[in-house]
Symmetry: none
Subunit: 197 residues, 4 copies
Amino acid sequence: MIITVASFKGGVGKTTTAIHLAEFLQTDAPTLLVDGDLNRSALQWSGTGGFDFQVCDEGQAVKFSRNAEHIVIDTPARPSVEELATLAGGCDLLIVPTSPDALAMGAMLQMVDYLDKQIFRVLLTIVPAKPSKRGAEARAALESADLPVFSTDIRQLDAFKKAAEQGVSVNKVTGDRMAGIAWNCYQKVGEEILKNG
Amino acid sequence: MIITVASFKGGVGKTTTAIHLAEFLQTDAPTLLVDGDLNRSALQWSGTGGFDFQVCDEGQAVKFSRNAEHIVIDTPARPSVEELATLAGGCDLLIVPTSPDALAMGAMLQMVDYLDKQIFRVLLTIVPAKPSKRGAEARAALESADLPVFSTDIRQLDAFKKAAEQGVSVNKVTGDRMAGIAWNCYQKVGEEILKNG
Amino acid sequence: MIITVASFKGGVGKTTTAIHLAEFLQTDAPTLLVDGDLNRSALQWSGTGGFDFQVCDEGQAVKFSRNAEHIVIDTPARPSVEELATLAGGCDLLIVPTSPDALAMGAMLQMVDYLDKQIFRVLLTIVPAKPSKRGAEARAALESADLPVFSTDIRQLDAFKKAAEQGVSVNKVTGDRMAGIAWNCYQKVGEEILKNG
Amino acid sequence: MIITVASFKGGVGKTTTAIHLAEFLQTDAPTLLVDGDLNRSALQWSGTGGFDFQVCDEGQAVKFSRNAEHIVIDTPARPSVEELATLAGGCDLLIVPTSPDALAMGAMLQMVDYLDKQIFRVLLTIVPAKPSKRGAEARAALESADLPVFSTDIRQLDAFKKAAEQGVSVNKVTGDRMAGIAWNCYQKVGEEILKNG
DNA sequence: TGAGTTAGAATGGCACCACCCGTC
DNA sequence: GACGGGTGGTGCCATTCTAACTCA
């Protein structure tokens, strides 16, 4: 299965999503993460080799993809409309992460306008904790616009930052009480992908 | 005074910084905000006309700049190295916002490597509240690397998201107790700019 | 009171001793630490400004010493015999730290051979925990050689390394159970100095 | 093969490393250890003649080196930058031992800044036992800085102190269960030298 | 609009257990 | 082979601060 993660706005958890979905899919079958981001965030994150799955950059993708059952592609920020069509055509599922704030939602709506509803699904990320209604409001807005959304939110948790610092995925973070909950978010998203895929 | 805001990574408060510095500088002299971001976030934000200063996109910059004493430029994410040199050459101060996490700090360090210490200054943004040590640690790391940093952090506050929703700058947000504190952050940064500039 | 810390062998806790005695003496009166080590370890340690006392290098010593009641001098490793005489002549107390192993003890014995018993006192450092007899054996050897020794050992504790990492003295270390015990070692040594001085 | 051991900070196992590498290389071919340390630690250690290889001080080096295939040079602590260039130019491999703590690592980084990556290799010494993560963290830091590191750590073991007391190398220590493991550390380092050299 | 209240996140402190080294 | 002690890991409680709700 080939999964592409793309967004028009940066800082909405695109790399975090790509990494943790790859980590989850690796539990199902050999998985490769292709780091197409210009900052090489994923490769930088994995500098110390704390991932179970394989990581490579765009140029090595063809070589490494032979041994992988699942492939997750982390794309550069702000793809052009033409690139967007290419990305959508080259995958089985296009995940569009967005945080529940006006700017990110606006950029997301702008993006999905160019996409077929069959190919993409929106993932709400960096959702504040329960007393906040941002997550629920954003979800309601998405559903009223009849856009496909993952039923699980990715919560805003410090554990994800710690994971980047420690160079591991969040399920291997030490010294954070919420790390298990953080990993659980992506587990549910991964299960939703495998079930519907 | 011409101030450019640029970063290699998205979602670190680049547009928020540009808007609020323009709002502050307007209290000193007529100010223009040039929205160079491909998402046109600033223009989208100001859709309802809730700003005191003028806003235009890149193409209109020359025309509007005649009436402005201060100009703030919001640049697209991930400028190339060549663009970076052009940006640095075309302003009096280049502000590099970064949140205090590993990925954003890495991208920031990558960026300032191409810049002269005389032209840029780092602004810590989205800094978590006091029990967290992220802000202090990031500041220590920057100072140990001998990078110029604004002495005031921009705190992680919901008021900034509400400002984007309401289409106004944070000093005009209603229904948020922390909005005054949020505005105070950028006020101090603005004063630091006017004093040193 | 002027206290000099010197040793013929490196890695025996010379800088750690100088820093923590300065921290202790600061509780008695304004104190200055003169970093004479070529590595500038103390200045590096204090880079983030985590000390109560003042720190300066050799060249600034005269200027800063005017405001200080106590002065602690951290000397370079392996002083020559001539330097040793100068160091001994320029202080009220010369502390010779040594760990309880054959190499460090040998270097220490070599050193004190050039010194008057009235001016120096040996400080056992990096002493392993109780099941080990190294500390007791070293203390017995020193006393049988009729050398003046501080009655308190500085124990081998991870807290001292954490202190260097955090850029603070061990009494300000967070997240270490033994930090209080570590600080207690130097407190007792400091009290012994003030009492006998 | 000429191997030089040097460090900016004392107490990081420089002499211990020189002695045990000489002991290992002696199993390959006649080996000479040149004791350049001002404390004459190696000569003191070997006072009772417990080494298989030959030992001499700097002045005798030329004379003894005629009969040796391998030469290991133990240098004085804190060489000047000029001496460093001379040392690097006079050997096939420059080993820089460092313990995994902030002060030693800082001094090491300061030192290798003057060296070519082709000539030196870092050796992690005095690494605490497994529950501690110091060794792994230091190794990760070295690798992220792209510095050449020996793949084997020298562990912090009492056997090395006993070896110094008994005047023998650690493979001849009696009455210590961990002596074999201690010797094994240097065996692996020695094999890495012979293989890559 | 402003003050008091509640829920949740994050740090720090403490107690408990596991592992390993050093001695007996 | 057994015991004591240090280090790291985890779980639990206390504290602080933000964001939301409620009341005047």
